[in-house]
Symmetry: C2
Subunit: 339 residues, 2 copies
């Protein structure tokens, strides 16, 4: 079968590989769409701290149809439309045992340590599979995983109905955070994004104000619009510049929520954080979020269609996927092994 294989930094090849075989307790999924995630870009750029193996078939956000079930599988059937929760913990640490597996320090994931979804077929554990309701299209299904991550960041934050929010970075994650913050009742959502196309998308995803941070000082702009700052600033850009502006944009007693994977270190002043009695929180992946995301999608409380900006062939994953995303020119790119 055809698959996109990560060999190392800037070294991704689409090639023919052996089709994976079902094992007991697993199912074989024919991939309909897979999405390129920000984490894939960090891996592509060669950041070792992400912990990706090489060579590995990448892709941890995917949807498809079950074509074969392994021995002992009882919860899924051939023909089921499914999405796959892409990672799992050790099962033994306190976080796993308490169901908070996203905090497990031994996480493993499809597309990072195990063959992922940038392929015609992928074999996954039965217990990581969720049935898709008919009301959710294949395209929208493909972005359920990143939506779950965005929703987890909102859930982990202290965001309450009526709060004011700033989102730094309107890449796919910032756009999904914007939509989730709106659904959570934010009264004012201010988005900062340097790329014109993504600024347009931010409006469609529920932003009340959108600015180019290279042209408007974000901290001043937030002060102008809010008085003394937003309740929560989400850093979905992952750079020192966004971190510092986001922290300064937060009102006293407010919080900065780190959503992005940071490539580099950050230098900041704990004194000024303390002067504002501010909190810096983090979020990572998701846990138990897929059913909640599907619930809100079916209900129509969140609409994620605008975040999908293109659908490409698996063969074009580097040129039209990785490279365009790194250039900030896309929202969510769907990769189709069927095209």
């Amino acid at each position: 079968m055809k698959a996109s294989v990560y060999y190392g930094p800037q070294n991704v090849k689409v090639e023919n590989v052996e089709e994976p075989k079902v094992q007991p307790g697993t199912v074989k999924v024919k991939v309909k769409y897979a999405c390129i995630c920000g984490t894939d870009l960090h891996v592509y750029r060669g950041e070792k701290k992400i912990g990706a193996r090489a060579p590995i078939i990448s892709g941890h956000e995917f949807t498809g149809e079950i074509v074969e079930t392994g021995a002992g599988v009882t919860q899924c059937n051939v023909g089921d439309r499914v999405i796959v929760e892409n990672f799992w913990g050790c099962g033994e640490c306190i976080y796993c045992r308490e169901g908070e597996y996203y905090a497990c320090q031994q996480l493993e994931a499809y597309g990072l340590q195990h063959p992922g979804g940038f392929a015609e077929y992928v074999v996954v554990r039965e217990d990581k599979v969720f049935q898709l309701p008919d009301q959710i299209s294949d395209e929208v299904a493909a972005v359920i995983e990143p939506t779950a991550v965005a929703m987890q960041s909102v859930k982990n934050s202290n965001l309450k109905i009526g709060d004011k929010v700033a989102v730094f970075g309107a890449g796919p994650m910032g756009l999904l955070v914007t939509q989730c913050a709106k659904a959570a009742g934010a009264s004012q959502i201010i988005v900062f994004e340097i790329h014109e196309k993504r600024r347009q998308l931010a409006w469609e995803m529920g932003a009340d104000y959108v600015f180019d941070p290279t042209k408007e000082d974000p901290v001043k702009k937030v002060q102008e619009l809010t008085g003394d700052g937003v309740d929560i600033a989400f850093d979905a850009a992952g750079a020192e510049e966004s971190f510092l502006a986001a922290l300064d944009s937060v009102r006293p007693k407010g919080e900065l929520m780190i959503v992005s994977v940071f490539a580099d270190y950050v230098t900041y002043s704990p004194f000024f954080q303390q002067k504002g009695v501010k909190t810096i929180k983090t979020t990572r992946g998701n846990h138990h979020m897929f059913p909640k995301v599907m619930g809100l999608l079916v209900k129509g409380s969140i609409v994620v269609d605008p975040v999908i900006t293109s659908t490409i062939r698996l063969d074009d994953i580097v040129e039209l996927g990785y490279k365009k995303l790194l250039a900030g020119e896309e929202g969510k790119v769907l990769v189709s092994p069927e095209l």
Copy 2:
């Protein structure tokens, strides 16, 4: 009267100044003891961000007896033994109006912007005065203010009964945090401190383990003792080294609480904070804590006597106060204008 006046960095003079006069709504307090605070040391070293005026009579932790009351004063009488809450907000911002005046961004304080307690007499607002119960000695009264700050840090943290705690730095604030964490039900308190005398004090203040971080790796030691880290690490040292070790000592989903005033910037990795889904919180001063501190002191649930390591004359404030504290050789130093 005699007073210790801050003129600028490393420039503190004990000299004769005019006695302050009561105004309507204020009371004149004959100072019994005043304590040197870590903030005073930051001011002494010349850190402008603290916002101290110069020249100013320093000292914002003090206790004494009312010797005169101004017009309209109804809640205090001459002869009352009192402690003084040392700062106040603008009274108009949302934080002041909601009673969370410690988050006001226009704070003013005795000893920083208004004449403080390193003097024979100080005039203070009636509404900042608290009556001392008979069971609390003058010496212990003098450390109620820093104890309130330590207790606020524990209250602002997520510390719950049975939690494991690390305290970085056993200066006066770290020692008081140790005692408050014990009173809050911490099951294990691990203290790191480089100075021998302060390590001894940490044992007396309730530490279960005390280490010299120049001889034992704090992160390894915490892992050894706890398995996967403490629930809460308090940074009461205020340096990049303590910040990084404290953050690394925290278990997944745990928190770092910044208690200290940081002189400098810190360079750290948001990625590793996020990998552990950790939170960085801050605390600042206190609000509404004095009655709670007095309640626990009277009840005997907290004992702060060991933190007081010497009582000195006002004349000796620089040599035996500031300089010895900067050298890490003391716990809390009481300054007596009566000696």
